[in-house]
């Protein structure tokens, strides 16, 4: 065991180091590099995946409502931050909408989380009693209902009906999503390592035994659900900032499935796994595999198979391979920890010494 202060010190220096690295990267690399796309989007999906993991992995509540809560967050953020001057253009079919004020970005982001949490509170009431797949399909259903609700014509003056929302403030530096997502993930980690995290795991393992230990199931599940939704909402807000325009139709069940894929590939019950797999997932789907879509000639040789659509075929095959051969995901339930690295290096040194 490392002593606690030392551990904290190392953590802080790692974080500072990471941000310094990102800062330098932004200075030296062209801003159009796909690396930054991956870093920005990866950070956002890392947050959303971790929030889903809190629910599905740690509390054993199989929820598929993530996209719905992201939608709420994204819309809350967007609606509240579009500058007054641009509202007429955005709400072109609704005479500029009826929201007569604009909030600052941090406040809107927090509200994005809070509104999502409020929805979660209301939804959680009836559905959290449901078990496993029934819960999954009910939350999925709620996400679909939320989507239809936000597209409703009558709400047009607020939500712009089914049309795009845009012209709200965005971020240009990769440091921003890293900082926000980083803080949020840190809080989630603190929660999971607290006595509440233990209770969540107990509920996951055996509800009846947990109840017999004096744990109020309804309350604790609600708590996990609300917390997870809060962070999904913040993630939605960040996603809006990244995309610079949003539309309810994007927040479909397939988005939830994508997040679930990230969680499972990272390892259900591993935070660092979720984070790691988020970046890998985004990088391969948005960047590394793009070349497969282009018809390619090597000299005059027409590379077979490669044409539009091939990227997705390959990507799904990769997913299948990962799922079939790394059943527990990249990290299993383990975490990537400073102590782990420490142990790794100490072993390395020990070996070297032996060699000498």
């Amino acid at each position: 065991m490392m002593d606690k202060n030392k551990k904290i010190l190392i953590s802080i220096s790692l974080v500072v180091g990471l941000f310094a690295l990102l800062f330098i990267l932004e200075q030296v690399m062209p801003s159009s590099s796909m690396l930054f796309v991956v870093l920005k989007k990866g950070a956002i999906f890392a947050l959303v995946a971790v929030s889903m993991n809190l629910l599905n992995g740690f509390t054993g509540l199989f929820s598929l409502g993530q996209a719905g809560f992201m939608l709420i967050g994204a819309y809350t953020y967007a609606i509240l931050t579009i500058p007054m001057a641009d509202r007429a253009a955005v709400y072109q079919y609704f005479d500029g909408g009826i929201i007569g004020f604009t909030l600052s970005v941090p406040i809107a982001l927090i509200l994005a989380g809070i509104i999502a949490a409020i929805f979660a509170f209301l939804i959680g009431f009836p559905v959290l009693r449901l078990k496993s797949d029934y819960l999954a399909i009910a939350t999925l259903g709620f996400a679909e209902i939320i989507r239809a609700f936000f597209q409703w014509d009558v709400l047009g003056p607020i939500t712009n009906s089914s049309n795009l929302l845009r012209k709200f403030p965005t971020f240009s530096t990769v440091l921003y999503p890293f900082a926000v997502a980083g803080i949020c993930i840190f809080v989630i980690v603190l929660l999971i390592n607290s006595s509440y995290g233990r209770v969540f795991k107990a509920i996951r393992d055996d509800e009846i035994a947990a109840e017999a230990m004096g744990i109020n199931l309804a309350k604790q599940k609600q708590l996990a659900f609300i917390t997870s939704s809060f962070f999904a909402g913040v993630g939605g807000g960040l996603l809006a900032m990244y995309q610079s325009s949003i539309q309810a139709s994007a927040f479909k069940a397939s988005m939830t499935y994508e997040i679930l894929l990230i969680v499972v590939i990272g390892g259900v019950g591993s935070i660092t796994g979720s984070v790691l797999s988020s970046f890998l997932f985004i990088a391969s789907s948005e960047w590394w595999l793009r070349f497969l879509d282009a018809e390619t000639y090597i000299g005059s040789f027409h590379v077979p198979l490669m044409r539009s659509g091939f990227r997705k075929v390959v990507f799904s095959i990769i997913i299948m391979i990962v799922v079939l051969f790394y059943r527990k995901g990249i990290m299993g339930t383990k975490e990537f920890s400073i102590e782990g690295i420490g142990r790794f290096f100490r072993r390395l040194f020990a070996k070297k010494k032996e060699a000498q």
């Binding site: 809080v187 603190l190 929660l191 607290s194 006595s195 509440y196 233990r198 209770v199 795991k201 107990a202 996951r204 393992d205 055996d206 009846i208 035994a209 947990a210 109840e211 017999a212 230990m213 004096g214 744990i215 109020n216 199931l217 708590l223 917390t227 019950g269 339930t333």
Partner: protein
């Protein structure tokens, strides 16, 4: 007269056409070890489930430490099915959830062991400490409660040490051998600081030697933690050796009550349950 802890009156539990518990009344006093025995399917586990709030009984009431904790009378379809003579008693409907009942001071173990399988032995016990803690998510997340957490940890460690589980505190609960799993389940129940401890077949799957050790263990925890014990058991050596009083159930009904020696010689009990008197 010792203080009365648990009183069950006219408790009935019906599943479809099966009257699993039929007008059961019993009471348990402070500091006793009381055994509940009876043939398979007599309704013993069901009675436990009613007392701990897992099931809502069809009829009857349960009070704990002098306070009414569960009370129900048949409603709707049950009314027609349930024809017990007490069906109009207990108008007041009180039903607590299991967690509430545990908070009041009743802890239990299960007939089929139910441990938190991905948690270590230590964590299994720590979870049980949660209910007595004064904290909110906020204070817990941001470590504003570290003193309390520290205390919970210390108490749990003490408990594990006393139960002889300290050596395995970091192993996964489910990789323990069977006997230790039983022991852990009891320790975990004790960690909720109960007044009354319900044990459902604690000696199942143990050989006679282990059963003997278990008997000593139960007496020991009773004295040390000042708990009262109500247990279901089929091992007669154990039951006869340590219980103060015994209730015998058959087909959901109480057929006998008394001290071990009375029960051993009760003709109904022998007929329904024991067979010939247990020799050697």
């Amino acid at each position: 007269m010792t203080q009365n802890i648990l009183t069950v009156e006219n408790l009935s539990m019906q599943f479809g056409g099966v009257l699993a518990v039929n007008n059961l009344s019993l009471n348990v006093n402070q500091g006793e070890i009381v055994a509940l025995i009876g043939p398979n399917g007599a309704g013993k586990t069901t009675a436990f489930n009613c007392i701990t709030g897992v099931y809502e009984p069809t009829n009857g009431c349960v009070s704990f430490l002098g306070e009414m904790m569960i009370s129900n009378h048949p409603k709707g379809k049950m009314k027609k099915l349930y024809a017990g003579e007490n069906k109009d008693l207990y108008k007041k409907v009180i039903s607590h959830t299991p967690d509430k009942i545990t908070k009041l001071g009743i802890a239990r173990t299960f007939q089929n062991i139910r441990l938190f399988k991905s948690l270590s032995v230590f964590e299994n016990v720590l979870v049980a400490k949660h209910l007595r803690a004064q904290q909110t998510v906020f204070s817990a997340t941001f470590r504003l409660n570290h003193l309390e957490e520290k205390r919970a940890r210390e108490e749990s460690l003490d408990l594990l040490e006393e139960q002889g589980l300290l050596a395995v505190k970091d192993t996964l609960a489910t990789s323990l051998p069977y006997g230790l799993q039983r022991r852990l389940e009891i320790s975990r129940a004790l960690a909720t600081n109960p007044t009354l401890l319900l044990l459902d077949e604690p000696a199942a799957g143990m050989n006679p030697q282990e059963t003997q050790e278990l008997a000593e263990f139960i007496v020991q925890i009773k004295n040390k933690y000042n708990v009262t014990i109500l247990m279901i058991e089929h091992h007669m050596d154990l039951v006869m050796k340590i219980s103060d009083r015994i209730y015998v159930l058959d087909f959901g009904k109480l057929i006998a009550e008394g001290t071990p020696s009375e029960i051993q010689n009760n003709i109904h009990v022998i007929d329904a349950y024991l067979g010939v008197v247990e020799g050697a």
